[in-house]
């Protein structure tokens, strides 16, 4: 077996063992959230880490995944998996549409355009009450699998699958292309890379993966309110990618795990979750630009 295969086997074993190491319902719930965060961070990393585009709209795609699935299931009585597929495809298309004009924008403009997109999506969720129920929220949403452990296995399994697919993607010539765009778009273009096609592609895939995480969120929580998809959530997802180490595959996973569990372990200090995110984000950017992964690699 190659080293990669061994790592994957180890990861799958770890995922399998985790719910039996953390047996209380509370910690198992955290595990589910952690798996969702890993998915979100993976999706964002493709855009932020590999293509170097600052997408602050990931919370919106997370929300689109959650709302589209729930509405299709509850109002139109679709099958959950069919609805999930539709939601991911829908988010991918929206991501593509946003990217279609976002590729013309660089750096700061894209950051603000995607922020604007997140604000608009949030406002639509709040104001389009006939469909989304607005701030009143949607209640009594059933998860696709009954038990928390089952749900964890499902989401974590999908996360491992997505990781594997993305790992292959970034090792392929496509990955080189994306990195070339990140490092120097003009040079990449002069070598015949159609940068806008690939940027849009990364954007779309990233949004689709974000929506995939959103698909499972409402069933897990049981209710759906717009506040879960506030812009601040885009910032926390970004913090996971940066703290872990953007532009590496394992970095965002580590970041998501650390930033999900750290606030839980420090819960005694009150509502400090977001302060920790802010502090971690600032300190890592200032003193450890490669994230946690950088520390490990240096040794």
């Amino acid at each position: 077996m190659s080293r990669r295969a061994i790592y994957f086997a180890l990861a799958i074993a770890a995922v399998g063992a985790l719910p039996w190491l953390m047996t209380t319902p509370y910690w198992r719930g955290i595990l589910v959230i952690c798996a969702m965060n890993v998915l979100l961070a993976l999706g964002l990393n493709l855009v932020l880490g590999y293509t170097g585009q600052l997408n602050l709209g990931q919370s919106a795609f997370f929300g689109i995944g959650a709302y589209v699935t729930t509405i299709l299931v509850k109002t139109y009585h679709w099958n959950f998996w069919l609805a999930a597929l539709a939601a991911v495809a829908f988010a991918g298309v929206i991501g593509l549409a946003l990217a279609a004009f976002a590729v013309r924008l660089r750096g700061h403009y894209l950051a603000i355009a995607s922020l604007g997109f997140a604000v608009i999506t949030y406002q639509i969720l709040v104001n389009w009450e006939s469909v989304t129920e607005g701030v009143r929220g949607i209640y009594g949403i059933m998860p696709p699998v009954g038990s928390t452990v089952g749900l964890f296995y499902l989401i974590a399994g999908i996360a491992v699958l997505v990781y594997w697919l993305m790992d292959n993607l970034v090792r392929s010539p496509v990955g080189d292309t994306l990195r070339a765009i990140r490092e120097d778009e003009v040079s990449a273009a002069s070598l015949g890379v159609r940068s806008y096609v690939w940027k849009a592609f990364a954007f779309s895939v990233g949004s689709g993966v974000g929506a995939l995480a959103g698909v499972f969120y409402p069933g897990f929580v049981g209710t759906l309110v717009p506040d879960a998809f506030n812009i601040i959530e885009s910032f926390t997802m970004m913090a996971m990618v940066i703290v872990g180490g953007m532009g590496t595959m394992i970095g965002p996973v580590i970041g998501a795990v650390v930033l999900t569990f750290l606030p839980e372990l420090l819960r005694g200090f009150g509502e400090l979750r977001l302060m920790i995110y802010g502090l971690a984000l600032t300190l890592v950017v200032l003193f450890m630009p490669g994230g946690i992964v950088q520390l490990v690699k240096r040794k």
């Binding site: 600052l54 750096g107 700061h108 608009i120 104001n127 802010g278 502090l279 200032l286």
Partner: protein
């Protein structure tokens, strides 16, 4: 409508920082909120009780305090974030760092002040002034007056003083300006301090208008971003026009569509602007090396 003037004050800070540093400060929102809180505590705890000032005097003092607090915060963020990251020449990292600072500041304030809105009464809000058939509250007149004076002062400073000229030089070409004996680091610091001081004072003016919570500034700055884009990044005239425009659009939205849709309308406008004319209403010619 007078909110437009405040948006201009906040947006001018953003556009100034962008013009000179080529950076966006996402923590700008929190400078506004911190300014508002500084003014609130000056009025309620300090000026009226310790100094025994009358209400109106206390409020005016609090404006100055907010200005100072904003300036100090600007100094701090320059020293902590912008200055150390400037050498590395990365455009994404400072942006991300300011998001981190913003999240940190917002939640630090949440921990300190709690989520319950503060009642910030301005003595000027109670008085009304009548001009012809239209009534204004004293507060709105004060807002317009203070922001008009500070915007005009800033504009004159940039246009006519030697320092302003030097700032514009740094904005155009940092290296060449450095060769001409200008200290870019110092001027960049000055820019951030001016921008933050403006944001702080805007916060003090906004305090009595908005509900004062740790997140009050965010709603304003989100609009300031829209204004900066609509006006064109780094373009002062464009920003002023766009700010007043957004103020008017907002007033009409409230009138005809309901206040819940303000952000939606403003941001649809922003996205439309990015599609149609990303350079802003007054286009600035910029050379692009391809």
């Amino acid at each position: 409508m007078y909110l437009g003037c405040l948006y201009v004050m906040v947006a001018l800070g953003l556009t100034l920082i962008y013009g000179v540093l080529n950076q966006i400060n996402f923590a700008h929102a929190d400078f506004v909120t911190v300014g508002a809180f500084a003014a609130f505590f000056t009025v309620t705890r300090f000026a009226t009780k310790t100094l025994g000032l009358p209400d109106a005097g206390a409020y005016l003092v609090s404006l100055v305090v907010a200005l100072g607090v904003g300036a100090l915060l600007g100094l701090a963020i320059n020293a902590a974030v912008f200055a150390p990251l400037r050498e590395r020449g990365d455009e994404l990292r400072p942006l991300i760092a300011t998001i981190g600072v913003s999240v940190l500041l917002e939640n630090a304030q949440l921990a300190l002040f709690g989520p319950i809105p503060y009642q910030f009464d301005s003595p000027f809000a109670r008085e009304t002034i009548r001009i012809g058939r239209i009534f204004f509250t004293g507060q709105s007149v004060l807002v317009v007056a203070v922001s008009a004076v500070s915007i005009a002062a800033l504009y004159a400073f940039m246009r006519y003083t030697f320092l302003g000229k030097a700032l514009r030089a740094v904005a155009q070409d940092r290296e060449t300006a450095g060769l001409m004996g200008i200290n870019p680091g110092l001027l960049i610091g000055l820019t951030i301090v001016i921008a933050s001081a403006l944001a702080g004072m805007a916060g003090a003016l906004l305090g009595p208008v908005l509900v004062l919570t740790p997140f009050a500034g965010a709603s304003v700055v989100v609009k300031a971003f829209a204004i900066v884009i609509i006006g064109g990044f780094g373009n002062m005239q464009g920003t002023i026009i766009a700010g007043i425009l957004v103020g008017i659009i907002e007033a009409f939205t409230v009138q005809y569509l309901g206040s819940g849709l303000i952000d939606l309308v403003v941001f649809v406008l922003l996205l439309a602007m990015l599609v149609v004319r990303p350079t802003g209403i007054i286009a600035e010619r910029k050379e692009e090396n391809v």
